[in-house]
């Protein structure tokens, strides 16, 4: 990938102060985002996926702040943005976000159309009738029938799926470069999920957006993503193209994650789970954060943090397993089965 990244986060560290204690939610995490791609960030709850991406548009809770690193976008370092006024040049216009729960993401007392229109008026300097026309177009674009009638309705008159369409319309109304979708389908019916994912994909093509999906649903990842980043305890531990992650993963956490896919289970055997709990982010973490939960951890995993090792130019993993000095480690059965199934399919 020779393209210049559209957004490049380097060594980002994000801390929250909670009752006088410091919690490091993101531990020197780096990420490059390329124009037009769809990147999925996966990881368990609390791994920092949301926090990391929220910092791209200054949406951290008030007790959190970026304490190290840079987020370069369009020649500017977003990590240095402090003022509301600065962020408003980014939010909506450049980077936008779709949140998890459509039931609560809309103002219950405002007409749906007005809420989309507000977004257009704020960011495109268009007012009144023309903005309304664009809002109506946007409603149509996200697949809401009878936009004229729907424009004047309130959120409670919409179903969950329809509301999520409205939320997407609001987020995409100003044609942002980057659209962050924070678990956009988690709160929805399975049948609706596919529709919403398709909608996002269509909009992405039409508006030429770069999309970041935050999810813990690997099914969604396989469906929509070009590239995948796996997060654990505030760090990206492995990233690569979808195929590389699904069929040739190397980080033990990615293995564990994939092995617990229900589709990979062997009939009659219990489905593997990841034992233990993620580390406490109040404490300083020594070595590989996943080591205590990894049965095959190496001695060095407890001592020193592994660097990224390159597997292919697009695929890197942060594990000592890939060090030439490490004893030879085989990928687990489940990963091999996955690869076999892919090769079988050709």
């Amino acid at each position: 990938m020779t393209k210049e990244p559209i957004l490049s986060a380097k060594d980002v560290e994000i801390q929250f102060s909670l009752r006088g204690r410091k919690l490091t939610a993101i531990r020197r995490c780096s990420l490059d985002l390329y124009e037009g791609e769809t990147l999925a960030i996966v990881g368990e709850s609390g791994s920092g996926k949301s926090v990391f991406t929220k910092s791209f548009l200054g949406m951290l809770d008030s007790n959190g702040s970026i304490t190290h690193g840079s987020i370069m976008y369009d020649g500017k370092d977003l990590a240095k943005y402090k003022k509301e006024k600065d962020w408003r040049t980014i939010r909506g216009k450049k980077i936008s976000m779709v949140m998890q729960d459509p039931m609560t993401s809309l103002n219950p007392l405002k007409k749906v159309g007005k809420q989309i229109q507000e977004s257009i008026e704020l960011n495109q300097g268009i007012k009144g009738a023309e903005a309304k026309k664009m809002a109506l177009e946007m409603l149509e674009k996200v697949g809401i029938p009878f936009p004229e009638k729907r424009y004047n309705q309130y959120p409670h008159e919409f179903s969950g799926g329809m509301r999520q369409r409205v939320v997407i319309a609001i987020a995409a109304a100003c044609h942002p470069d980057i659209l962050i979708c924070d678990e956009p389908t988690t709160a929805l019916d399975v049948t609706i999920q596919a529709q919403i994912l398709n909608l996002i994909r269509d909009l992405q093509k039409e508006l030429k957006m770069t999309v970041i999906y935050i999810t813990h649903d690997l099914g969604v990842v396989a469906n929509v993503a070009d590239r995948v980043a796996v997060m654990y305890a505030g760090q990206i531990v492995e990233y690569g193209t979808v195929n590389e992650i699904f069929y040739d993963a190397w980080h033990p956490y990615t293995w564990a994650l994939l092995s617990s896919l229900p589709q990979l289970g062997v009939k009659g055997e219990p489905l593997p789970t990841i034992e233990g709990t993620p580390p406490n982010l109040f404490n300083k973490i020594q070595g590989d954060a996943f080591a205590p939960r990894n049965k095959k951890a190496l001695a060095i995993d407890f001592e020193e943090e592994p660097p990224f090792f390159e597997i292919t130019p697009t695929h890197k993993a942060k594990t000592w397993y890939l060090d030439p000095r490490a004893p030879k480690i085989e990928q687990p059965e489940a990963i091999k089965r996955l690869r076999a199934s892919m090769e079988g399919r050709g």
């Binding site: 548009l57 949406m59 509301e84 408003r88 939010r91 909506g92 216009k93 936008s96 976000m97 949140m99 729960d101 609560t104 993401s105 809309l106 103002n107 219950p108 007392l109 405002k110 507000e118 977004s119 704020l122 960011n123 309130y154 409670h156 939320v167 609001i170 987020a171 109304a173 100003c174």
Partner: protein, 316 residues
């Protein structure tokens, strides 16, 4: 919307009717002596009393009396005062006093609405900072300290430091009303501030505020267009009702500053068994209260599209 309004109106009428009935029945449990003035009680023989009561229909069976009372109410005939001003129509006994109480109550309501909501907004904008704590301290103080104590403080401060008159006078109503109005407003300012802050903070933490921020709305825009507007909806419901509380509160305040309003009249009437006056005042309070709640609901319905307009019970 029409259906809902009609339904709420009917409910209100039923409520008032029940109150009227209960008050009437309770009053009829008093000894019939109330029908006579103190003088008459001394002078009349039992036979004379009996005769008078018979003539006034007070010895009829209860249901008959009740129906007659309903009839009188429909004609806005509230009877005559006995003990307070013998033979004078209750309406004119209450009349002037009602006007005075209403004037004080309405002024206090408007003041507390503005000041209370303003304090609430300031507290929200300064959440968890010093101004917020000062506001909360005020609310706690007003609620925790017996109201007579805070009234005394107002009185002491107002008359000693500011030199304001400490007693109400009909000859100089505007200046002498200041301290009673301040006292009347104390509690409702506190409660408006408390609820405004509470509802605004509630709204601030909601997800749609995040989406509004994501799409680039400024802090001021969020506060005005989203937070305050939405927080005002649940608040609006209490405005008409709190009107009643302001008048109710005047019971104490009016005594304290010897304002010749409805408050002292009610206690007077109760102490002296002036049944018709008590009855009418209680009915008046009930009507005001029910009307307050009714108007609150209608206001809420107009402001909140989620309240079902089709009358099928609504989903709130």
């Amino acid at each position: 919307m029409f259906k809902y309004t009609i339904k709420r109106l009917l409910q209100s009428v039923v409520t008032v009717l029940i109150v009227v009935t209960i008050v009437f029945l309770l009053m009829r449990m008093l000894p019939t002596d109330y029908f006579f003035t103190e003088d008459q009680l001394m002078k009349f023989t039992p036979e004379q009393k009996e005769e008078q009561l018979q003539a006034a229909g007070l010895l009829d069976p209860m249901p008959k009396q009740l129906v007659r009372y309903y009839g009188q109410l429909l004609k806005f005939d509230f009877g005559e005062s006995r003990r307070i001003q013998n033979g004078v129509d209750v309406v004119s006994v209450i009349g002037d006093k009602f006007t005075i109480s209403m004037k004080l109550g309405c002024t206090a309501l408007v003041i507390s609405l503005f000041v209370g909501i303003l304090i609430g907004i300031i507290q929200t904008l300064n959440k968890d900072r010093i101004l917020d704590h000062v506001g909360t301290a005020y609310t706690i103080f007003v609620n925790a300290v017996p109201s007579l104590v805070s009234y005394s403080l107002v009185l002491a401060f107002g008359s000693k430091v500011l030199g304001l008159p400490s007693l109400y006078s009909t000859r100089n109503p505007s200046e002498t009303s200041i301290l009673p109005i301040v006292c009347l407003s104390l509690a409702s300012i506190a409660s408006y501030a408390l609820w405004t802050r509470r509802y605004m903070v509630d709204e601030l933490n909601k997800d749609y505020i995040k989406l509004a921020r994501v799409k680039g709305t400024s802090s001021a825009g969020i506060m005005i267009k989203h937070v305050f507007k939405n927080a005002f909806v649940p608040l609006a419901q209490y405005v008409p009702a709190s009107f009643l509380y302001t008048i109710g509160g005047s019971l104490l305040v009016e005594r304290f500053f010897s304002v010749p309003g409805m408050g002292p009249l009610l206690t007077d009437a109760i102490v002296r068994y002036d049944v018709n006056v008590v009855q009418t005042l209680v009915v008046l309070y009930a009507v005001l209260g029910t009307l307050g709640v009714f108007l609150g609901d209608i206001l809420m319905m107009l402001l909140d599209p989620r309240i079902k307009l089709t009358g099928k019970g609504g989903t709130r």
